[in-house]
């Protein structure tokens, strides 16, 4: 089977690295020494942010797993799953995490000696796969473990994408020829080359996939030289890599248009712009630090008299988001950075006012004008009304 196109230029050779690791563990055991596995600690307390770099980077903290009676099960599982992944890399087959879970079960079923390793449910095997990635400091895609590419539906009259296929063939996709269908990027930014037919003025990432579709249908991309994209909630790796690619290759101003609430700010926008603590080792290739927050801004609520709601403290999701916002203001290096003070101010506003205002509320401004929302967006961009 042909080799897959790499996600990035990887400095290490995974099978070789894995062998070195196994060799070291075996040697330790032969010497009655406790083998230790170390993985980057992927949490907020090990995240650093430098506005010049633009995304969250890992610190020195590691999660150490030393062999003892309690950890022997985890280590045995790590080595067991690593072997499966190495096999996949060797033959070039790819799988999702769920498929890997069932493959592990299948192998265990076929060998009664392996029975103690059996996974009760998928989160158990997922955490082992994540640990292996963090340990080798490689992306799961580099271990041939792919996630479903959700979101990222893109509309543009100017954008031409050239994809290099696994067999070296090239596919050219002119987005203007797709009719009403969007282009949806796969999570392999390295195999894509972007070209603009005409100068592209900006890229707009809309939180709601539905609203992005409405804008496109009403002719947003016809009237504006732009790229219009639906994020579909928390951006997937595919969306994040795709935004990074647009930033790198086209160097166009990028704006994010979403709800005004704590969840959107800290979970969706922050992840798109600077990555997340859980994906520390991959933020470099999966964040677009240039993207700006176009709205809904607190001032817009007043200016356009947008309908908004009190956060229901009884709603666990919303209450948790607000509670998290307070924590984030104290501990998240991204929001603590001076450069992002205006974004942190929005969080403070939300904590104080306890309101939320949805992106679709722009449709209330002039219900008779079907492109009023587009007009406001363009006006805001021109006016520099973004953070």
């Amino acid at each position: 089977m042909a080799k897959l196109i790499a996600v990035r230029e990887l400095k290490i050779d995974i099978p070789k690295e894995a062998k070195i690791l196994a060799e070291r563990m075996l040697k330790d055991l032969e010497n009655s020494k406790r083998p230790v596995l170390e993985a980057v600690k992927t949490s907020l307390d090990n995240s650093f942010y430098n506005s010049k770099v633009g995304f969250l980077t890992p610190g020195d903290k590691v999660v150490r797993t030393e062999l003892n009676v309690s950890s022997v099960q985890k280590l045995a599982r790590v080595v067991f799953v690593l072997e499966i992944l190495l096999g996949n890399l060797e033959v070039g087959s790819v799988n999702t995490k769920r498929e890997l879970y069932y493959m592990a079960k299948g192998l265990i079923k076929g060998n009664s000696r392996l029975k103690p390793l059996d996974f009760e449910d998928q989160p158990e095997s997922d955490s082992i796969i994540d640990f292996i990635g963090d340990m080798l400091e490689v992306y799961r895609e580099e271990l041939n473990c792919f996630a479903n590419d959700r979101g990222g539906q893109t509309y543009s009259q100017q954008l031409i994408v050239t994809e290099t296929m696994a067999d070296g063939e090239k596919a050219v996709i002119d987005l203007s020829t797709l009719g009403t269908s969007p282009f949806q990027p796969k999570n392999k930014p390295q195999s894509l080359k972007l070209k603009a037919r005409k100068k592209i003025d900006f890229c707009l990432v809309v939180e709601s996939e539905g609203t992005a579709n409405t804008l496109a249908t009403m002719g947003f991309t016809k009237r504006n030289n732009c790229i219009l994209m639906g994020a579909q909630g928390v951006p997937s790796n595919g969306v994040r890599g795709w935004c990074k690619l647009i930033q790198e290759q086209l160097d166009v101003p990028m704006y994010f248009f979403g709800d005004l609430d704590a969840y959107t700010m800290q979970n969706i926008f922050r992840t798109l712009k600077a990555g997340s603590a859980a994906s520390l080792i991959r933020n470099a290739d999966f964040s677009a630090p240039n993207v700006r927050f176009l709205g809904v801004l607190p001032e817009d609520v007043k200016k356009y008299d947008l309908p908004h709601y009190k956060v229901k403290e009884s709603d666990p999701v919303e209450a948790r988001a607000l509670k998290k916002a307070k924590d984030v203001l104290e501990n998240d290096p991204f929001f603590l950075d001076k450069k992002n003070k205006n974004l942190a101010d929005i969080l403070r506003f939300l904590i104080k006012e306890k309101i939320r205002c949805e992106q679709q509320s722009y449709f209330s401004v002039d219900p008779k004008d079907p492109i009023k929302t587009e007009k406001i967006i363009i006006e805001k961009i021109k006016r520099g009304s973004y953070v």
């Binding site: 032969e30 009655s32 009676v69 309690s70 022997v72 080595v79 392996l114």
Partner: protein
């Protein structure tokens, strides 16, 4: 205006039997059995006889009321017997009691229960109770049917005859009444009998419940509990009305004499203190019969305002940790148990003693997540209804059992195959209702019960911790056996290592994990030695037989050695 009529006590109770435990066919059977057994045990104790009870509860037909069976309840004892002249009073007259308000820790108190049972039988089956009784002075036993004459609240004897009875003395009562039988659960007959067995180690009992076989449980203590002397009430437990009524019992005596002889803890000094606290001096020697209500009130207020010594705790009776620990083994095969008898203390100016027995049974595999079986006792009588309002339940729920190794949902009874038995003994126990089902929860009483439970919980936790450490060690050893070889094999496969390297790595791994299991063994040994120390202490108090505990100690030592040996096999050359 309608005519005011006066009704007899019997009439009142006949109309309100639900107040005294006859609110359903189910409760009727249980209450009848309970009242008969209480009387038998009390009588034996009064006479210093070790009780031997024979109980039979069987269905003999269908009841006259809807959805009931006709149930025969027989309770026979080897007690002193009842004087033929008293038979009618005991079984057919309400409030005819030798125990009322006497300040003794007897099971029965007022003299309502057995007459109520007779009334129930009479009302549902048109026949009172069939009694056979013989005292040691009688050559022949007397047999009669006792009915309650409801209009006059007196008992009447029917079909009285003498008969031969092979017992030197004793009483046998037989009721036939409408009811329903439930064996297990909170209101079950078996639950009642087990509870009675637990707190009466000196009792031998033979019983047959419905179609089950006869069961005999022998006594484990040859000592009849010594009934403490009756105690006078403490004035601080009285209300004004009671105080005045109490005074009328004393006839024309000076107030000072009434106070000193009618109550405990009132001395000449107390009388002086009463005067200081507002008792008019001229009342002290005035006869109580001539005191006005106003004067009684002044006296009462002065008494309440004066600090008095707490009542004596001598009047309470305990089962004792030793007897309790033997008795608990009569309920089934136990894994382990803990018993605590608190020192008598004063709660709400009444002497109280709390005893707790907690045990885990091998043979009682209750449903998973079922709460512990709770046995509540007041003056050694099992309480079986309305547990949620009881001081004992409150106290159990207030303890954090998780810290003793038991599962416990928030503010609830803990979970597991345990029996939690809590006994409260006091000459002046306060019930929430006349049928003696729940102990009124005063703060002081709940706190005292709680302390007893905590002590027992700590003892129990030693057993549970040892078990937990054992499981931990077992799990760790299993882990080594299960995962070690898999880890080494996978590593060797990835590296392409030789068999020799594989073998060496396996040995290395065993050494490493052997060190870990040594730590687990040390933990277990610590837990075991703590438990042994506790058992030793208990043995000094006579809890657990010597033979058994010696054997136990032996086994413990062996088991530690065995596990150490087993682990040592995996740790050759370790350390």
């Amino acid at each position: 205006m309608s005519k005011i009529t006066k009704s007899s006590t019997a009439e009142y109770f006949a109309k309100n039997l639900q107040q005294v435990g006859f609110s359903s066919p189910l409760k009727a059977v249980l209450t009848t059995l309970k009242e008969a057994v209480d009387n038998s045990l009390d009588a034996c104790e009064q006479a210093g006889i070790l009780p031997e009870l024979i109980i039979e509860v069987v269905k003999i037909g269908s009841g006259s009321t809807k959805n009931t069976d006709l149930i025969r309840i027989v309770v026979e004892d080897n007690g002193p017997g009842i004087d033929p002249d008293d038979l009618a009073k005991v079984y057919g007259e309400y409030l005819a009691s030798s125990k009322f308000g006497r300040g003794q820790c007897s099971r029965g108190q007022q003299g309502i229960g057995i007459s109520a049972a007779t009334t129930w039988a009479q009302m549902t089956n048109a026949k009172g109770v069939q009694v056979i009784s013989k005292t040691k002075n009688m050559r022949k036993a007397i047999s009669a049917q006792v009915d309650v004459d409801i209009k006059s609240n007196t008992g009447t004897l029917r079909n009285k005859e003498t008969m031969d009875w092979d017992r030197p003395h004793g009483t046998r009562v037989e009721f036939a009444l409408d009811g329903r039988v439930q064996l297990n659960g909170d209101g079950g007959l078996l639950t009642y009998i087990e509870g009675t067995i637990l707190v009466n180690p000196h009792m031998t009992i033979k019983y047959k419940l419905v179609e089950n076989d006869w069961v005999t449980i022998e006594r484990v203590s040859a000592v009849s509990p010594e009934l403490p002397e009756a105690t006078l009430p403490h004035p601080h437990t009285f209300k004004l009305g009671e105080f005045i009524t109490h005074a009328t019992l004393f006839g024309k005596v000076p107030l000072s004499k009434f106070l000193k002889t009618g109550f405990s803890r009132i001395s000449d000094q107390s009388l002086k203190d009463f005067v200081k606290n507002g008792l008019p001096k001229n009342l002290v020697e005035k006869p109580v019969t001539s005191l006005s209500e106003e004067e009684f009130k002044k006296t009462f207020q002065a008494v309440q305002a004066t600090e008095l010594m707490a009542p004596s705790t001598k009047s309470v009776l305990t089962v004792g940790e030793e007897s309790l620990s033997k008795s608990i083994l009569r309920l089934g095969e136990v894994d382990f148990f803990a018993v605590v008898t608190r020192k008598p203390c004063i709660c709400d100016f009444k002497p109280v003693v709390v005893e707790v027995a907690l045990a885990r049974f091998k043979t009682r595999q209750t449903e998973l997540d079922a709460p512990v079986q709770l046995l509540r006792f007041a003056n050694r009588v099992p309480l079986q209804f309305d547990k949620s309002g009881c001081a004992i339940t409150w106290a159990i729920e207030s303890v954090n059992w998780k810290s003793y190794g038991l599962q416990q949902p928030k503010d609830s009874l803990p979970i597991g195959p345990y029996i939690f038995a809590v006994s409260v003994v006091s000459p002046f126990i306060k019930f929430k209702n006349a049928s003696k089902e729940t102990i009124d929860a005063s703060e002081e009483l709940v706190a005292e019960i709680r302390l007893a439970l905590i002590q027992a919980g700590q003892k129990l936790s030693r057993h549970i911790k040892k078990e937990f450490k054992e499981a931990d060690l077992e799990r760790k050893l299993a882990h080594i056996e299960q995962f070690g070889p898999i880890l080494v094999e996978s590593l060797a496969r990835i590296v392409g290592a030789s068999d020799a390297r594989k073998k060496k790595a396996e040995e290395g791994l065993k050494k490493l994990l052997g060190r870990d299991s040594e730590a687990a063994i040390a933990d277990l040994e610590e837990a075991e030695s703590k438990l042994l120390a506790q058992k030793k202490k208990e043995r000094q108090k006579g809890i657990g037989s010597d033979e058994e505990s010696q054997a136990e100690e032996h086994v413990d030592v062996i088991s530690v050695k065995a596990t150490t040996k087993k682990a040592a096999g995996t740790k050759k050359g370790g350390k």
